[in-house]
């Protein structure tokens, strides 16, 4: 069972502003029955250009209904300029948080709001914003990039939770990873390895891997790895910074570094920590 906050339960069981608005100034439709959730959002403006009233219709789970209900409450009294700045996080926060797997419900709310505003401003319907990455759920690269940036997402799983991309056949996982890497400025080394490395090439590749791939990851935990020597297939290293004193360093780090180096450089490498 999902752990929903009382506020989510309340907005699900007693949704605010449910229903169709016949004289709406803006309407935004997102989602589809195939995807498992869909939302139609309506708003009406007062004479000062502020949102006077907002209603919704939603097909979906409890958190989809609660997110829609919350959205209508949040936008009331806002100008369209202000409403444009409402994020999915605002919706989730209003509800006291959503389970991570359900964050896409809040994203759906934000998307419907944007569409409704664009509809009011008579902005032409954007055909498809970017290239479709996830064919199962029709999610584009731009949508993924936006959600990764705005919510500081780090994994494919996160992306799936927020915009569903990657939740079907999983064929697009590599492409999603590339987008995440691009946003975070991580440069991955090409996967194809030369068949036979001479010692010089090997050392160079190990150094490069440490610098571009392994140390940036370790630095999240405020540590890094120094390359001392390469002796045949033995890679002699020293952990520095917090890594050095961390009790996990022995096993976890060595295992991680070794498997990454085997992947990136040569499958025969053995990592050894030198105690100085």
């Amino acid at each position: 069972m999902w752990e929903y906050t009382d506020k989510v339960k309340d907005h699900f069981l007693n949704p605010r502003n449910a229903g169709v608005m016949d004289d709406a100034d803006g309407v935004g439709e997102v989602g589809s029955i195939a995807c498992g959730d869909a939302l139609t959002f309506y708003f009406k403006l007062d004479e000062n250009g502020k949102i006077k009233d907002a209603t919704f219709q939603t097909f979906g789970c409890a958190s989809a209904i609660a997110s829609s209900s919350a959205l209508t409450e949040i936008v009331k009294g806002l100008t369209l300029e202000e409403a444009k700045n409402v994020t999915n996080d605002d919706i989730a926060e209003y509800l006291g948080g959503l389970p991570k797997e359900k964050m896409h419900c809040s994203v759906m709310g934000r998307e419907a709001l944007e569409k409704a505003i664009a509809c009011h401003l008579n902005e032409p319907e954007k055909e498809v914003d970017g290239q479709i990455v996830c064919e199962c759920f029709g999610v584009t690269d731009n949508e993924i990039e936006r959600v990764v940036t705005e919510n500081k997402l780090e994994t494919i799983e996160d992306v799936t939770s927020y915009v569903k991309a990657g939740g079907g056949c999983e064929k697009c996982h590599d492409s999603i990873q590339e987008i995440i890497d691009k946003v975070h400025g991580i440069e991955r080394l090409p996967r194809k390895l030369p068949l036979k490395l001479n010692t010089l090439q090997k050392i160079k590749l190990i150094e490069e891997s440490l610098e571009k791939e392994i140390n940036p990851t370790l630095k999240k935990d405020a540590g890094y790895l120094e390359l001392l020597d390469v002796d045949g297939n033995r890679v002699l290293v020293k952990f520095r910074g917090t890594c050095a004193s961390c009790s996990k360093s022995d096993f976890t780090l060595k295992h991680y570094v070794e498997s990454r180096l085997r992947e990136l450089v040569s499958p025969d490498l053995v990592v050894e920590e030198v105690q100085l």
Binding site: W2, K9, F12, L13, P15, A18, G19, V20, E29, I33, A34, C35, G36, D37, A38, L39, T40, Q57, T58, F59, G60, C61, A62, A64, I65, E101, K102, C136, F137, T160, K164, G167, G168
Partner: protein, 394 residues
């Protein structure tokens, strides 16, 4: 709030008689059945008795029964043993597309390790495409595993007939009978089944105990390697109290099956089903209603979403399950409903009700009363419902 429990394919209540026989084995009689003293030996005698009780339920011999920790362990042990003894060159394994994750995920895992896997399709009613199965058997087929009855729809596969055909070809046959045992009369001796899995908590025994039936003479290689327990076929000290409980539960289940008590449950199920279909428009049953477990119905309510339905039912204390995506944390509806080609409009709003011998007519009447307003309320919220209603008017 009173709980109305119609989720018995997920788990069942431990029968009071079962709990009674178990309790002394947590406190007074804590001996190890492997010990040489009679304090332990008496416990071993009770396990022996439980083995007889379980064997009788499925028409097996007591020494064909090994106790495990759950249905999943039984499944994994069976499949891995079959592959180990199948010999070199036997690289192909088959199952249906609607298997429980205990088989499905294991097969997917084996596929990654280089096995050739064929998942046999089902038709729109969830019935196995038997011709497809026979057609794709080949010289390198090591094993076929088919569930006896489906957990989501209750649809029963013709295991007696199919297992005989597979056996004639010298191919190993396993069945996951977790949902069938205790709900259907089963006589394993009249089938070609080499191994069968069952689970205690689906038949009013506690969670944490299962059984793997291994036909006499079947080559076996243990999954859990350790002591000589279960004749060396499953190492590890026995879960004594639960095994004794499972024995009692098997005895009770046999009485109920023999007395055809499930006809009464089927009648209640049918009442629930027909009343809901009558009272709620755009609703339908998923799966074959003819060859189906007596306690199960899967009903699709179009244009609404299952998790929302379940949470509203929860407000009335009614427990059931859904094949919808949102309940599982995945984004797609259940693989069973998708394999059957149930349209999205219906799959997302599918609710499974599963009864037990403890289900009463009052409970069913209560659910019949509460369900239609729940569906109506959610449909009023749904943007698709108005479109559908307007189209219907035209």
């Amino acid at each position: 709030m009173k709980v109305i429990y119609l989720d018995n394919n997920a788990t069942t209540k431990v029968a009071p008689e079962v709990l009674d026989v178990m309790l002394p084995y947590f406190s007074e009689y804590y001996g190890n059945p492997s010990s040489m003293h009679s304090f332990g030996g008496d416990v071993a005698a009770k396990i022996k008795e439980a083995r007889v009780q379980v064997a009788k339920l499925i028409g097996a011999e007591p020494d064909e029964i090994i106790f495990t920790s759950c249905g999943t362990e039984s499944d994994s042990s069976a499949i891995r043993a079959a592959l180990e003894v199948a010999g070199p060159g036997k690289n192909h394994i088959m199952a249906s597309r609607v298997e429980h994750p205990a088989i499905k995920s294991l097969y997917e895992n084996l596929a990654k390790k280089g096995y050739r896997v064929t998942f046999v399709p089902v038709d729109g009613a969830g019935r196995l495409d038997v011709d497809y199965l026979y057609q794709y058997l080949s010289d390198d087929t090591a094993l076929v595993s088919l569930m006896w009855a489906n957990n989501e729809t209750g649809v029963i596969f013709p295991i007696e007939e199919v297992s005989q055909r597979i056996k004639e070809k010298g191919i190993f046959f396993h069945t996951d009978a977790v949902q069938a045992v205790g709900k259907l009369p089963i006589d394993i001796s009249r089938t070609g089944v080499d191994m069968l899995s069952l689970s205690g908590h689906k038949l009013h025994a506690p969670k944490g105990v299962g059984v793997l039936y291994i036909r006499k003479g079947t080559k076996f290689s243990p999954f859990m390697i350790g002591g000589h327990q279960e004749h060396g076929r499953r190492g590890g000290t026995e879960n004594v109290a639960s095994i004794i409980g499972l024995g009692k539960a098997a005895e009770l289940a046999k009485q109920h099956v023999d007395a055809n008590d499930y006809a009464r449950i089927a009648k209640l199920r049918d009442k629930l089903e027909t009343s809901l279909l009558e009272r709620v428009t755009n609703s339908m049953v998923n799966g074959d209603t003819e060859h189906r477990l007596p306690n199960t119905t899967s009903i699709a309510f179009e244009y609404v979403e299952g998790e929302a339905i379940l949470l509203m039912m929860n407000e009335h204390g009614i427990c059931a399950s859904s094949g919808s995506a949102c309940t599982s944390g995945s984004l797609e509806p259940s693989h069973v409903l998708r394999a059957m080609g149930v349209p999205f409009t219906a799959a997302h709003g599918s609710i499974r009700f599963s009864l037990s011998r403890y289900s009463t007519e009052e409970e069913i009447d209560f659910v019949i009363e509460k369900m239609p307003p729940i569906i109506e309320r959610l449909r009023e919220l749904s943007p698709f419902w108005k479109q559908e209603a307007e189209q219907a008017k035209r």
